[in-house]
């Protein structure tokens, strides 16, 4: 396969989930901040809620690595 396609596929595998993560966190962050203003004891839940979408970016990174390795 043309190496350009492999590189583009790896780039898409990491960038699309990263954008999705950013979008999700942009929605979760303000909601969490508002909740914390009223109930500071929710800080643990807040950390988890903000960290959860990062799974997408991290798994995207793993997939990108696999694509690059398979392609090589």
């Amino acid at each position: 396969m043309n190496p350009i396609w492999i590189v583009l596929a790896a780039a898409a595998a990491i960038s699309i989930p990263a954008l999705a993560t950013g979008w999700a966190q942009s929605r979760i962050g303000p909601a969490v901040a508002a909740s914390l203003a009223e109930k500071p004891e929710l800080s643990t839940t807040a950390i988890l809620l903000v960290a959860i979408p990062e799974t997408m970016a991290i798994l995207g990174f793993v997939v990108a690595v696999l694509i690059l390795y398979r392609g090589a």
Binding site: S43, L48, A51, I52, E54, T55, I58, F61, L66, Y69
Partner: protein, 638 residues
């Protein structure tokens, strides 16, 4: 672990209720619970006099708290005094008067200090003004009126406009100088002949430019002559403020100890009154129930017997009469694991009778942290940071716990750093010839991925085993379902490994057969939703790939930081940029592993067995500074 609790019942003559509660309070062992009330056994309600006393004491406690004994209260002084009321303790009334006097005196001192500090701030501003214009205008300005003008951001152009307006009115007969002050403001000094002062003032008023008033006690004159007067006034203000602060310290040192004692006695009495509401009474007797650690039950029985003899009886309520979720929870762990209770307590406490995850967290959390950081250099810096925090924190505090958690995390980071051959990225390899002993994270991405998913498998499988143990105590059917899920997870892993030829291919078919056999057991035991949960368990294991992702990102950033040192023209600039990049990477290297390590525990691991819902153990004891205001279980909980 969660220590075993006993539910106890204390019975005695009604007239001895207060004495018995006092004795229980002295032991500090019993978490009060409400006895089962009925027609015969009635709740104790406070008399009107006692309710009034409780209100009085609460107000007194608030008043003492508002004084912030030992700390500067500033404006945190309550305007109200305790409502007038009875005080059964002979000292209460005197203490209340002392607290009121101290509050009024402190408020007076604070008002005076604030006024002087305001004046000092104005003085400092004017000093800046004088310093900015000193020497820029001729010293002989007899017959001239001076105006000190302050310009806000939007008025900066106003100097030009003002100069034009003054020229139109006065011709050349004025002097106007502008300067920027260190505070960021722009100032202007205007000198005009005394005769023109009224016209100039009208002009200034129309243009809306703010004139800076002279500080109190400073008379208008030449700028050179003003400076000594300003310095003298500043010294006077410093002296006066220091005297007021000394007076405040003296007042607190005289009244503080007595008021602290007053607060403790009042809080103790409030606890006594609150404890009575947890008792049940009949016309002749009382019943008090509560929870004590099983190991301390005999100690309590001996204390009551010693004080009341056969008059008061203590018995243990049989296990059949109470449910596990009613008992309060006390976590106890070996010294090494105790700091990790802080992480467990970030979630609601585990239910009584379930498993305390602290020991597992104490092992796996630093391991995950170390795997992600995986750099001996960063690990050493973290260890130094932990040592500094440990030295500067007080025992039992959150900061001390954080320092003690950082210690094992640093140890794991150093150990994995040596295994991966990393010391500030590839610096160790380039400078001292370090070699990776286990794997090179920079290159062996796939083996690292496999390692992290394998760790995920072990961690999640351990969680499932704990879930089986938890469920086995109360829900055997659920335990069977969880067992089937665990078997399926293990054989899915075997089938996958056989599929990719890591294990002999002959394992594949038997593994699939076992999965097919376990599947109906899973559905029958846990319902139709179980297969979905099973799939989520598999995705939980894949979630551990984040360890590899974050670890790889960390090592790459460290390598980039080292490359930066050579990428710039100058060596010094390159080293500075490299250090800055390492600093950023180190900061990320602390936060990312901590947050993702917590997430892996709270979501992936705890989700398999953790049963929240335990209530905190709050024994009735004597109040000490630092305790919660009302450390009693809320009425209505059993």
């Amino acid at each position: 672990m969660i220590i075993p609790m006993s539910r106890i019942r204390v019975l005695g003559p009604r007239g001895r209720l207060d004495a018995v509660l006092g004795a229980i309070q002295d032991t500090g062992l019993v978490h009060l619970a409400e006895p089962k009330l009925g027609e015969l056994l009635q709740p104790v309600s406070l008399s009107e006099r006692e309710s009034r006393q409780a209100r009085y004491l609460r107000a007194m406690v608030r008043e003492v708290d508002d004084l912030s004994l030992g700390a500067r209260p500033g404006s945190a002084v309550s305007p109200g005094a305790p409502e007038a009321g009875p005080s059964e303790h002979p000292e209460f009334a005197r203490w209340a008067r002392t607290a009121g006097r101290a509050r009024r005196e402190l408020a007076r001192l604070d008002r005076r200090t604030e006024a002087l500090e305001r004046e000092r701030a104005e003085l400092a501003r004017f000093e800046q003004f004088v310093a900015a214009f000193r020497g820029r205008l001729p010293s002989g300005n007899a017959g001239m009126q001076s105006y000190h003008l302050m310009l806000r951001g939007e008025e900066v152009q106003a100097v030009t406009r003002l100069r034009a307006a003054l020229s139109a009115v006065l011709g050349e007969g004025f002097a106007l100088e502008a300067a920027d002050l260190p505070s960021g403001e722009r100032a202007a000094l205007l000198l005009v002949p005394n005769a023109e002062a009224p016209r100039v003032e009208q002009l200034l008023a129309r243009s809306g430019i703010q004139e800076m008033p002279l500080p109190a006690g400073i008379t208008a004159g030449s700028l050179g002559a003003t400076l000594p007067a300003l310095a003298a006034r500043r010294e006077g203000l410093d002296r006066e403020i220091a005297e007021l602060q000394g007076e405040r310290r003296r007042l607190l040192s005289v009244a503080g100890p007595e008021l602290t004692r007053a607060r403790a006695v009042a809080q103790d009495r409030l606890l006594e009154l609150g404890a009575r509401e947890h008792a049940g009474i009949t016309p002749r007797s009382f019943v008090v129930e509560g929870w004590v650690p099983a190991a301390a039950r005999d100690r309590l029985a001996r204390a009551l017997a010693r004080q009341f003899g056969a008059e008061v009886v203590m018995e243990e309520v049989s296990r059949e009469e109470w449910r596990g979720e009613e008992a309060p929870v006390v976590l106890t762990n070996p010294r090494l694991f105790q700091p990790f209770e802080t992480l467990t307590r970030m979630l609601p406490l585990p239910r009584y009778g379930s498993i305390d995850p602290t020991p597992f967290m104490a092992v796996f959390f630093p391991m995950f942290f170390g795997l992600i950081m995986g750099d001996a250099g960063y690990g050493i810096v973290l260890a130094i940071l932990a040592a500094v925090l440990h030295r500067r924190s007080r025992p039992g505090g959150t900061v001390r716990a954080v320092a003690e958690i950082m210690g094992p995390c640093a140890a794991f980071a150093i150990a994995f750093g040596i295994g991966f051959g990393e010391f500030f990225g590839d610096l160790g390899r380039r400078w001292v010839g370090m070699r990776p002993l286990v794997m090179d994270r920079e290159k062996a991405l796939l083996p690292f991925l496999g390692l992290t998913v394998a760790i995920g498998f072990v961690h999640v499988a351990l969680g499932m085993v704990l879930g089986i143990v938890n469920a086995g105590r109360s829900h055997p059917r659920q335990a069977v379902g969880r067992g089937a899920a665990l078997v399926m997870v293990c054989f899915v892993a075997i089938a996958l490994l056989a599929g990719v030829r890591v294990l002999p291919h002959g394992f594949f078919t038997p593994a699939v057969i076992v999965i097919l056999l376990a599947f109906p057991v899973l559905v029958i035991a846990e319902g139709i939703i179980a297969p979905i949960e099973f799939l989520s368990t598999l995705s939980n294991m894949l979630s551990y790939a984040r360890i590899m992702a974050l670890g790889t990102a960390s090592v790459m950033m460290a390598v980039v930081a080292n490359r930066l040192a050579g990428a710039f023209g100058g060596v010094v600039v390159g080293i500075l940029f490299g250090l800055l990049f390492h600093l950023v990477n180190f900061a990320l290297g602390i936060f990312a592993p901590a947050i993702h390590g917590l997430r892996l525990h709270y979501v992936e691991f705890f989700g398999k067995f953790y049963s929240p819902g335990g209530q905190q153990y709050h024994p009735l004891g004597h109040w000490r500074p630092g305790d919660a205001e009302h450390p009693l279980p809320a009425k209505g909980t059993s």
